[in-house]
Amino acid sequence: MLPVYICEDDEKIRAAQKEYLRKQILIEGYDMEIVLCSGCPEDIIQAVKESPKRGIYFLDIELKGESMDGFELGQEIRKLDSRGFLIYVTAFQDLAFETFRYHLEALDYIVKGNPRKMQNGIRHCLEVITERMHEEKGEEREYFSVKVMDVIKHIPVDEIVFFETAGRTHRVELHAVNDRFDFIGSLKELEDKFKERFLRVHRAYLVNVEQIAELDLKGREMLMKNGERCLFARGMKGALVEQIGSGLKDHVLSL
């Protein structure tokens, strides 16, 4: 059961939101429940604190006369519920949504000026949430989560091609299919963490075995599936050939 919270300072709109949500949950038979509707952000935080659980939050951005705005409320909620769904409700279309998505991983935003549009927005959000929940259930994908300054990046482990020591101490360069960035860490730690799937082939490289495309045994270099090249140490030759298995062996030998 997903708890639903609404924080909206306009009483009428709050009532309309609540009413429509209630109806929609009933009609579609969603596994959700409206827990709290309030104009006061502290109430919401208190309630989440009392029963910390993944929830759905409809938050107004401009909370008049309150101690915090929707953005700050979102930050507080994220501290308590890192996986919840944040949906922002705003009167203006000039919402800096990219910022909200970037910092709060907000799901979507709804413009509240038009009742019909607002209803459509709510319906759409509920659909997306259910779909997400469903996907997550079926998915067994492992993610590598790492803090990069003030944000946390989640990279699917199977998409990581290799880690490389960056020029500076304590910095590691991540090379993934769709990502490339540095973070603070050490190859040793990562090696321990990904014991089975990754191989420390060189002092400077920790590679994802599944991402290796070719081995150049003479040049002691390997070609990764994304086209990048990594070096490997002499002592690793045997282990590599063994790891990669027979499927690749023929190919390797042909080199």
Partner: protein, 454 residues
């Protein structure tokens, strides 16, 4: 020499001094604004009075031996009388405020002494025995030929260097009380420096007076250089704000056009709504209102939005960069959005470096979506909790070879390009705690630049 003789001599030399004073003050403060004959006579009278009083006091001081007081006490008192008298004359002539009169009087005194010292260079033998004929001749030559020449030279220098203009600026800046106090201590300070010089006369190669003078010169140079830097910065700021005003005006004109178009639609809608109201069709009216507000938001809102976001960029150089890019993007009809939720006030990176980095990211994004109807650029600047993030996101059309990105010479836009991202990385390598991030997500190419500020 008798009292009368000294008095006559003094009257003559005081006359000369006063002519120099009046001439120089005209040079510095401009023409004397005498409005009528009466004022003219007042000035003349006060000048004559000044000459006579000074000559008289000078004679008395000389005769009573007050000029021989230790530490030049008598002479200092005489200096103050000179300055006070000069101030009074200046006030009568120009009716300027007290501060200006004091400043000018001290300046005149300094200039007079400069001229006098110039003349003095040619008279190494400072003491004359007026009883001896050759000495007296030399003295008279010194007093009546060399001194006027020196004074004229100073006058000429002031004239050539356009000291009047400088003085005018100085006058406008309103002298602070501390400066006035400093100026009024001038005669005493001169004495102190002089005594330093005398005291250390025997120690060759070192003299505090030299140090003090050099310190002063260096101080002036520093102030001047600093001024220049500030001025440069100010000019730059002004340029940016000019650019911004230009952009604002362009935007306003666009807005006006849109409002005019909307006004036209609005009239039609109103008449339609009126008809519906007559029929009592509430639902249709609601729909009309809905439509109208949305139209308004769509047509007029977007321009206002952009300007609101730009206003949140408080770093002038970055704002200038965005204004410039905004112009290009408008010309090329590139759709773009800017988000600056919280004011971006400052950053650790040098603004030239930051602008180069951002310029590279923006140029890359613009090149990618150029000429594509469905292309879009999204820019976010976020500064909070001690971190600054710049995010440039653009629709991706050409496949990117990730591992080659940032290598010199690689570009998705063909060979001979791709120096940009390489430079970008090089610039960032200079700084600690800055990170470039690259991501491909949902058909967008995303470049992030993160800076840890503290």
């Amino acid at each position: 020499m008798t009292f009368f003789e000294v008095m006559c001599g003094n009257l003559l030399s005081e006359g000369m001094t006063t002519i120099f004073f009046v001439g120089t003050s005209i040079l510095l403060l401009g023409e004397i604004p005498y409005k009528n004959r009466k004022h003219y006579y007042t000035i003349l009278g006060s000048l004559v009075l000044y000459i006579v009083v000074r000559a008289l006091i000078g004679t008395i001081f000389y005769k009573t031996g007050m000029f021989m007081w230790p530490h030049n006490g008598g002479e200092k008192i005489f200096d103050y009388i000179t300055i006070a008298g000069c101030m009074a004359c200046l006030w009568v002539m120009y009716k300027k405020p007290f501060g200006t009169c004091l400043g000018t009087a001290v300046f005149l005194k300094i200039m007079y002494e400069a001229g006098w010292s110039l003349a003095d260079l040619f008279a190494p033998n400072k003491f004359y025995h007026l009883e001896i004929l050759t000495d007296r001749r030399e003295y008279l030559f010194q007093e009546w030929v060399m001194t006027p020449v020196g004074l004229l030279l100073v006058f000429f220098l002031l004239y050539k260097t356009k000291a009047g203009n400088m003085f005018e600026q100085w006058e406008e800046q309103k002298l602070r009380p501390s400066v006035l106090v400093f100026l009024s201590f001038y005669p005493i300070l001169v004495q102190i420096v002089q005594e330093f010089v005398d005291m250390y006369e025997r120690d060759t190669g070192y003299n505090p007076a030299t140090t003090i003078i050099f310190l002063l010169v260096i101080y002036i140079i520093f102030i001047y250089a600093g001024r220049e830097g500030i001025q440069k910065k100010r000019i730059e700021d002004q340029n940016v704000s000019l650019k911004q005003q230009g952009a604002y005006i362009e935007n306003l004109e666009g807005l006006q056009k849109e409002v005019r178009r909307f006004r036209h639609d609005f009239k039609n809608m109103m008449s339609g709504m009126y008809l519906q109201a007559e029929e009592g069709n509430l639902e249709a009216i609601q729909e009309y209102i809905q439509e109208m507000t949305e139209d308004f938001d769509l047509q007029v809102g977007s321009q206002i939005r952009l300007m609101n976001q730009l206003a949140n960029i408080r770093v002038t150089e970055v704002k200038g960069l965005f204004l410039e890019k905004m112009k290009t993007m408008q010309e090329e009809e590139i759709r773009w959005e800017l988000e600056v939720l919280k004011p971006f006030e400052k950053t650790r990176l040098r603004s030239t470096d930051l602008c180069r980095c951002l310029g590279i990211l923006l140029d890359n994004a613009m090149e990618e979506v150029q000429g594509r109807k469905d292309g879009k650029i999204h820019i976010m600047i976020s500064s909070q909790n001690g971190y600054t993030t710049f995010l440039v996101k653009n629709t991706l059309f050409s496949p990117v070879d990730f591992h080659k990105l940032g290598m010199a010479g690689y570009s998705t836009k063909g060979s001979g390009r791709g120096i940009g991202l390489n430079n970008y990385k090089k610039i960032l390598e200079k700084y600690e705690r800055t990170l470039p991030l690259t991501t491909i997500q949902d058909g967008y190419f995303i470049q992030e630049l993160k800076i840890q500020e503290v």
